[in-house]
Point group: C4
Chain length 302, copies 4
Amino acid sequence: MAGAFRHRYTSAMSGGTDRRAAWRVNLGNVIYDADTPAGRAFDLLLIAAIVLSVLAVMLDSVSGFQRRYAAPLRDLEWALTVLFTAEYLLRLVSARHPAHYARSFFGVVDLLSILPAYLALLIPGAQVLLIVRVLRLLRIFRVLKLVRYLSEARVLSRALQASLAKIVVFLAVVLTLVVLIGTLMYVVEGPSNGFTSIPTGIYWAIVTLTTVGYGDIAPRTGWGKALASLAMILGYGIIAVPTGIVTVGLTQAHAERRHEDGTSLGARECSRCGLKAHQSDARYCRRCGEALPKVPPASGTG
Amino acid sequence: MAGAFRHRYTSAMSGGTDRRAAWRVNLGNVIYDADTPAGRAFDLLLIAAIVLSVLAVMLDSVSGFQRRYAAPLRDLEWALTVLFTAEYLLRLVSARHPAHYARSFFGVVDLLSILPAYLALLIPGAQVLLIVRVLRLLRIFRVLKLVRYLSEARVLSRALQASLAKIVVFLAVVLTLVVLIGTLMYVVEGPSNGFTSIPTGIYWAIVTLTTVGYGDIAPRTGWGKALASLAMILGYGIIAVPTGIVTVGLTQAHAERRHEDGTSLGARECSRCGLKAHQSDARYCRRCGEALPKVPPASGTG
Amino acid sequence: MAGAFRHRYTSAMSGGTDRRAAWRVNLGNVIYDADTPAGRAFDLLLIAAIVLSVLAVMLDSVSGFQRRYAAPLRDLEWALTVLFTAEYLLRLVSARHPAHYARSFFGVVDLLSILPAYLALLIPGAQVLLIVRVLRLLRIFRVLKLVRYLSEARVLSRALQASLAKIVVFLAVVLTLVVLIGTLMYVVEGPSNGFTSIPTGIYWAIVTLTTVGYGDIAPRTGWGKALASLAMILGYGIIAVPTGIVTVGLTQAHAERRHEDGTSLGARECSRCGLKAHQSDARYCRRCGEALPKVPPASGTG
Amino acid sequence: MAGAFRHRYTSAMSGGTDRRAAWRVNLGNVIYDADTPAGRAFDLLLIAAIVLSVLAVMLDSVSGFQRRYAAPLRDLEWALTVLFTAEYLLRLVSARHPAHYARSFFGVVDLLSILPAYLALLIPGAQVLLIVRVLRLLRIFRVLKLVRYLSEARVLSRALQASLAKIVVFLAVVLTLVVLIGTLMYVVEGPSNGFTSIPTGIYWAIVTLTTVGYGDIAPRTGWGKALASLAMILGYGIIAVPTGIVTVGLTQAHAERRHEDGTSLGARECSRCGLKAHQSDARYCRRCGEALPKVPPASGTG
């Protein structure tokens, strides 16, 4: 996920030659880059503002809190909205391709973060839109570009992508099971026991097979309990499948990363006997004793 | 699962010489095959009809919806039933071995998808049979033959089959535990706390060990809670076992697929006896001792 | 588990020379051995009787059923008790070491299966002991010796034994966490919200960390919910640990079994260059082309 | 965790030359060391006292029990407090660096274990502090130094540390999901269905995604149930990710331990430069090119 984010970000930054004025380039470095002290300070400030803002949206929904602190909450919200508006405009101005930025994932999220406040001012009934501001949380992921976590995020995301086909097959089987079990329970238990319709039965089946088990609907008849027991034991086995899929995917993604880093066995070949798969610190061929070629320069963190 | 389905399908299609008329062969290609544009269009239409039909069955069970839209639902249902009947007859006609098809898994499912509607017309009390139409959902799996998902489904199904013996042992242990714990809780808590019989205790034990935890029955005495705590911690460890089994099975199924594809263990082939799957550092064929060709340039991710 | 059972069984059978009369040896073969037709028939009959007996104990606890079928249930119970008593005496008579058998795990289970019926006859208040008969279920595991499942059971049991030390460390951490979290919740929520004592808090913590979540006790205050949220996310990560432990243990147990079977790479060594790790079907050394020694005779199923 | 504990312990013990009197050295051996009979006896006594003390704190919170056994509980508590105080003073006296010990993790825990009892005596309102005594439980981990469990604890802790970056990424994604889903449910269900505020919605989302599922808050509207179903199936897939992370981490930690033990990759050592950990088929040292000794006869399971 973060990998996809960063891809958009870099492609928005690197395409074409730079025709911006010097101050816009400098501004862009502060805003988009985290390698300079100014850029890092900007990022940390932004994270603080985002967290504060999301906390304000949350607390605003707690009725007791809202009644007592209505005024400070409104003031804080407006201060942050103005701040985020200024940031959005600066991003637009300093981006290499403003239109590109405005249509990118984070460009839309940035706009959605400030628009509701203005709309609620203009249209009286648009108060409910304010909830959209919680999307600001997504902007924190932009800062993940800062750190080594990106590499880990890419391993995770690659593992999930590699397992996608298997996960789709698995989901198709689970959804079919859920519909069949839910329908069966609707027939067995009936509306008088809470299974008022087939969709309700399917909802119960999902709650059960995922082992969430709220208990708002539960079988009451003997046959219903027997069927539910079978479904639970089935779900028990089924929950093991995605775990296995992800584990295998992660193992392979790790192996690929090691391979790319050149740290896996086998990047070099003996010039005399052709043996490969030498250990990373080997200087002589383990089969014929020939000196090995030097290690190629490490090709980045992968 | 999908692997087993396809097996039946292909065995129904390829046995014996083809004695059908040309139009029946062409019709069979459209209906059974997904590689032609007509075949793909037919499959997509069918999926849409199935999904629509299952949605109609679901909504029909929602009392509020059913009362308001009784007429359109009935009309839709009859249109789809006529469509599926026509499809069933066409499949029968165009199959290489009609009797074979009629007795196959999907042949029975196809029949069960249309029969209830006619039975409900003839026999007044057979309304409840209409629920059987939800089985139409299974027919979607026939379309899985379309795509690359089949290969993934086969890996999953092979992993589960290879783990079958271990899963049987595991289930035997779990069922014994569930009976013993359920009986013990029946003795400790007693009928006055909701554990009205041993089967109820076993139902509680299944709900608990699978971590579903509805809460419709829960221990109330101190000893009952202590025993339940032990059972939960036990279940905690137990749930790890099927996951481990499936993960190991999946890892092995993957290794086998790589082996079959000839992409692991060296893509090279012995020039004398044609044996493949040599180890990456092999210089002589392991079967006939012939010198192998040199390692080809790394041919991609495989 | 089954491995441990079988160990006791074989050690009870093979120690010392056989001083029993011929009819006792033959009887022992029928009772303890499953390789002869008579032995297999005896085992199947026994499983049927055990399942019937456990079902009778279960149904006996369902009050509606018990009232209606009191007489047949009692008759069935006595018939089975007489049968099991006869079996116990025959086992005692035909065992190589009767005292050894009587003190073995299954010897005690066999005795516990029949004793309660006689005690309930003698002592009026011993009715509750009848519940002990459900232990008869354990005797089914004796029949696992019949089949190839034993090998799988041994892999599972070896994986769990190898992981034992890690599981103990894990359980120690979990129990400490559970006590600390439970105490904290008792302080935060207090008796008025259902957390009536520290043991109750610990019970809640176990129900939560194992993701069972009955809902009979749930946090009601804001701080309680915040703390519970932290505990749940913690439990989320913690549940991954036993799974990882078991998966790694299973992978190693599999590798060991392959090794024992002689099917793993590397059982043979080239007599010219000393290379090992040949594929199982290799006939020539992959490095120097020398003919390999013949495969050693397969050393059993491990 | 235990690894970190032990690190502190040994660094507190080994730094600098020993300037303590002989009796303090002997005392320190008994208290800090478990290899002598006196040290082992001391440790076992301490574990018994800790378990007894924590049980007393627990039972003290059960109102029925507390009322009946107030006097003996108070006496036991004071006896144990005096014992732990003596132990703390002896540890201070016999430690190589008393100040070092007092500021170490276990030094603080030891102090927190005895302080509340004295504070409750001095300050009337400090009764609630007595709950802090449950922290005594942590002291049991000190005894883990006794046994081979330490090695396993280190493998576990290394696996978790290696996976830390991935776990942080995963938690960031989960927390964002939880906030977005919780807010969405607050909008969809509304306060009249129990979702009284956004924090409540987030609490519900955590309860659901972790599959705990208390059922104290559950969706009641159709759209809410549909959204909850999606969230549950999402959570189903998500719960597989930490498991995969930990499994991969554990596999690597195991491989590293084998590597360090020198039991994998060939137990042989280069006779010129002394390098170990050669690959199993190596004939020349990979560092200096010297011919390696022949493979030793397989030295057991390693």
